[in-house]
């Protein structure tokens, strides 16, 4: 037995080749099976990218017109950008690394094979780095290119790209170290409260930092001094964000040698940290894996009132049997961190932006800003809602697939179950969307008529998007699939995504046109008949489309066989 030849010392090359093969197969499959989705994704990413580039270009151009402010602000913009990225990427890398090292069967499979822990950790480090850093690439490249375009020197393109590549390994290494420490030193039952605590502290720190930017009149010397002293903490010589910001600053001022020196400092530290972390984690991976995978669940007990408590309050208008279904979905929503955290992050960022609105130094009465900013808020809320409903609401019906016999045995018509799912989706989306919109309108002191229009449009968009997701989810389900992400990526999911984007685009076009018309009215606080008609059409369209999708979905769901 076992004629196995001696095992090669490192199989890293083989592991990378296998990963490359899986990516290639995935890409080939996507091109064959979902070309529309792929095209839509590439198009939307391009739109976001070009939009960001344009925005950054305008900001930098504006700053450069006032040399004094530019001298202070541009290095700070970069310093803050990379400081924020350092923190966000570290956490994002930590979450991904934890899943990759301790949550997936792959790591266990590889560690049970004759592969060294060093190879496994190196592979997972690169996987984590790539998966966590693509957002920085999406956000950062337009920022860098906008700056490079304004400086008009080709060497900047190379330098800026090099700074990015040199910077990314630092948060990746810190993230992997954080994930390993969490697995090694904290029992599972403590991880959830610790993560929530860290999130709260991080949010509070972020809020405090942003608040610190907006104190007093920015036109005075006193403000400038106070501002500089407040910002000193991100400009520490030991922080990588400062090396990158200084490097870019020197490059902008044509001090290329110094810029390259800072690039070298960043790269050297990034490489050394990576080398150190990968080795430390690999050396003690067995004990961390042992603690992370040792216990079965947290053992935490969840009180489960059938449909009382919060569910009873939120779904009071539903009959008991449907309230039970809605309560089940609500419970699943709160117990799945992926769902609520995504919604919380999206709307948290929006709330952050809203709380800083009062400091906006824009004459709101000029150029129709008074109406344009609330409209932009409506756009942001609508797009976030579309993302949420396509990713989380759409798979709800398909996920019932193998349990349909159970839900189907309830003494209610099967189609009514869709109503319960729709009620759940409407309640969650309306709560967050309306709260955000109302807070924004109060802060902006929007006229009552326009405020009412925006509230009605928000309700209509929620209705339309939830109707699409539940209706199309029931009409084009994937009952045999248990992975929600795959359900959202299937034919039905793609149809729903395109339908949702089209609906949002149509509604926003109508409301946008109404806003545009109102700018030319003597009293823009009161819309004219044309504006009212446009908004009413948008509302009718959204309600009608949602109701139609629900009806079609219900008809199909009543007779579906699993």
């Amino acid at each position: 037995m076992s004629n196995a030849p001696p095992v090669a010392p490192s199989l890293l090359g083989l592991l990378f080749r296998v990963k490359a093969r899986t990516i290639l197969n995935r890409l080939r499959l996507t091109v064959q099976e979902a070309p529309v989705r792929l095209t839509a994704t590439v198009f939307l990413v391009a739109v976001i990218w070009v939009g960001l580039y344009g925005m950054f270009y305008l900001v930098f151009e504006q700053l450069r017109r006032t040399p004094l402010e530019a001298t202070v602000a541009i290095p700070l913009v970069f310093n803050f950008f990379f400081a924020a990225m350092l923190v966000l990427l570290t956490f994002s890398n930590a979450v991904i690394a934890y899943g990759a090292l301790f949550g997936k069967e792959e790591a266990a499979y590889l560690l049970a094979a004759p592969i060294t822990p060093l190879d496994v950790v190196t592979l997972k480090y690169w996987e984590t780095l790539i998966m966590a850093s693509w957002a920085l690439v999406l956000l950062g490249f337009p920022l860098m290119l906008a700056m490079a375009d304004l400086t008009a020197q080709r060497v900047f393109y190379v330098l800026f790209l090099a700074f990015f590549l040199a910077f990314i390994p630092i948060p990746a290494a810190l993230g992997v170290l954080l994930a390993w420490s969490a697995a090694r030193f904290f029992p599972r039952r403590l991880l959830r409260p610790l993560s929530v605590g860290a999130g709260v502290v991080l949010s509070a720190a972020l809020l405090f930092g942003i608040r610190a930017l907006h104190v007093g009149d920015s036109a005075t010397e006193e403000w400038l001094r106070s501002f500089q002293s407040r910002m000193a903490f991100v400009q520490s010589a030991f922080l990588p964000n400062n090396w990158v910001a200084l490097g870019i600053d020197r490059a902008m001022n044509e001090q290329i040698a110094e810029s390259v020196l800072y690039l070298g400092v960043t790269a050297a530290n990034g490489l050394f940290l990576t080398w150190l972390v990968v080795r430390v984690v690999a050396r003690r991976l067995d004990t961390a894996l042992d603690r992370a995978s040792g216990s079965r669940g947290s053992g935490r007990r969840f009180p489960s009132p059938a449909a009382g408590g919060l569910s009873g309050l939120l779904f009071f208008y539903l009959p008991t049997s449907l309230r039970l279904v809605a309560a089940k979905d609500l419970r699943t929503f709160f117990r799945d961190p992926l769902q609520w955290s995504q919604l919380a992050i999206l709307f948290g960022l929006l709330a952050l932006y809203l709380t800083n609105m009062p400091t906006l130094r824009v004459q709101l009465s000029g150029w129709g800003w008074y109406l344009v900013i609330p409209f932009l808020n409506l756009c942001a809320v609508s797009l976030i809602l579309a993302t949420f409903t396509c990713r989380f609401v759409f798979p709800l019906v398909s996920l019932e697939g193998r349990k349909l016999w159970l839900v189907g045995l309830l003494p209610v018509p099967r189609g009514d179950i869709l109503i319960a799912k729709f009620a759940f989706a409407m309640t969650v989306t309306l709560l967050v969307a309306l709260t955000t919109m109302i807070v924004a309108m109060v802060i902006l002191k929007l006229a009552v008529v326009w405020a009412a229009i925006h509230v009605v449009v928000t309700v209509a968009i929620c209705f339309g998007l939830c109707g699409f997701s539940v209706g199309i989810g029931a009409r084009l389900p994937m009952f045999r699939e248990s992975n929600a992400a795959r359900i959202a990526n299937g034919l039905g999911g793609t149809t729903n995504l395109l339908a949702s984007i089209t609906l949002v685009a149509l509604v926003l076009s109508a409301v946008g046109s109404a806003t545009w018309r109102a700018r030319y009215l003597p009293d823009s606080a009161i819309p004219d008949t044309g504006s009212l008609l446009l908004c009413s059409a948008a509302v009718v369209l959204s309600f009608g489309a949602g109701a139609l999708a629900l009806t079609l979905g219900r008809r199909h769901f009543d007779r579906v066989e699993v």
């Binding site: 037995m1 076992s2 004629n3 196995a4 030849p5 001696p6 095992v7 090669a8 199989l11 083989l14 296998v18 093969r21 899986t22 990516i23 197969n25 995935r26 499959l29 069967e105 792959e106 266990a108 499979y109 560690l111 049970a112 094979a113 004759p114 592969i115 060294t116 029992p187 067995d286 004990t287 894996l289 042992d290 995978s293 040792g294 216990s295 079965r296």
Partner: protein
């Protein structure tokens, strides 16, 4: 391969593992020689999977020592792992690889030259009846298809020790028979099979020796005849199993 054939293929001495206050495995000692098909039985939560994960090096014992073919797991883990193959209860496959791509990956991982790989693979394809779907992406496989490909991957490098956790769950009768034959054949060729199972009929039919673990302790070990003697009853393994675990419970 260890030159000393008398060294047990799997050797556990005083192994203990606890999760917090819950003791999963307590003072477990076992010596399984080469060429033996060993069935590891126990009720749910008895410590079977924990023991298996310690044997393959995924969990660390808090006390005691584990050796595979004389190599200590942990200190000389890679040498031990080169001698064994592990099939978990939930088979792992890369979803975006075809079965064949996965099998080639495993072959390369164990340093098997292409000519030997193709020869062994052709044999396993026939035995496990995977030819029809081995070139499809594994994400389209049913549980039984996955299990067959994972078994082919496990046997590809002709391991000395094959560790399998609940291998028969979700398999159709024909595949169960194929898998049973493969295990018996592997043991007859001098390999060792360590199999945890709930399917007592299979253990009764193929195992050379049976170990029963209950609440982390090995409460009985031996051939079916020896277990019957220990239970003082001339009955089926099912009745012996229930009697022993209930006695222990009382």
């Amino acid at each position: 391969m260890n030159p000393d054939e008398s060294v047990p293929a799997i050797h556990l001495t005083g192994v203990r593992k606890a999760y917090g206050k819950k003791v999963a495995v307590q003072d477990l000692s076992l010596a399984i020689p080469r060429g033996e098909l060993f069935a590891f039985l126990g009720p749910n939560g008895a410590g079977k999977t924990t023991t298996i994960k310690m044997i393959v090096g995924l969990l660390q014992p808090q006390a005691g020592e584990l050796r595979v073919c004389g190599h200590q797991i942990g200190a000389n883990g890679l040498a031990a792992k080169a001698q064994l193959a592990y099939v978990p209860d939930q088979p792992f496959l890369y979803e975006k690889l075809t079965g064949r791509e996965f099998l080639y990956f495993v072959a390369e991982m164990y340093g098997i030259p292409p000519s030997r790989r193709d020869q062994t693979l052709a044999l396993l394809e026939r035995k496990l009846d995977i030819t029809e779907f081995v070139d499809q992406l594994t994400e389209s496989y049913s549980h039984g298809m996955k299990q067959r490909v994972v078994l082919a991957a496990a046997l590809l490098h002709e391991p000395t020790v094959l560790v399998v956790d609940e291998p028969m769950v979700g398999l159709d009768p024909k595949t169960i028979r194929t898998v049973k034959n493969l295990f018996v054949e592997h043991a007859r060729r001098g390999g060792t099979v360590f199999m945890s199972t709930h399917t007592l009929d299979i253990a009764e039919a193929v195992a050379d020796r049976i170990g029963i673990i209950h609440r982390g302790r090995l409460i009985a070990i031996g051939s079916l005849g020896e277990l019957r003697a220990q239970a003082r009853r001339e009955h089926s393994l099912e009745e012996i199993f229930l009697q022993l675990t209930e006695e222990e419970h009382e």
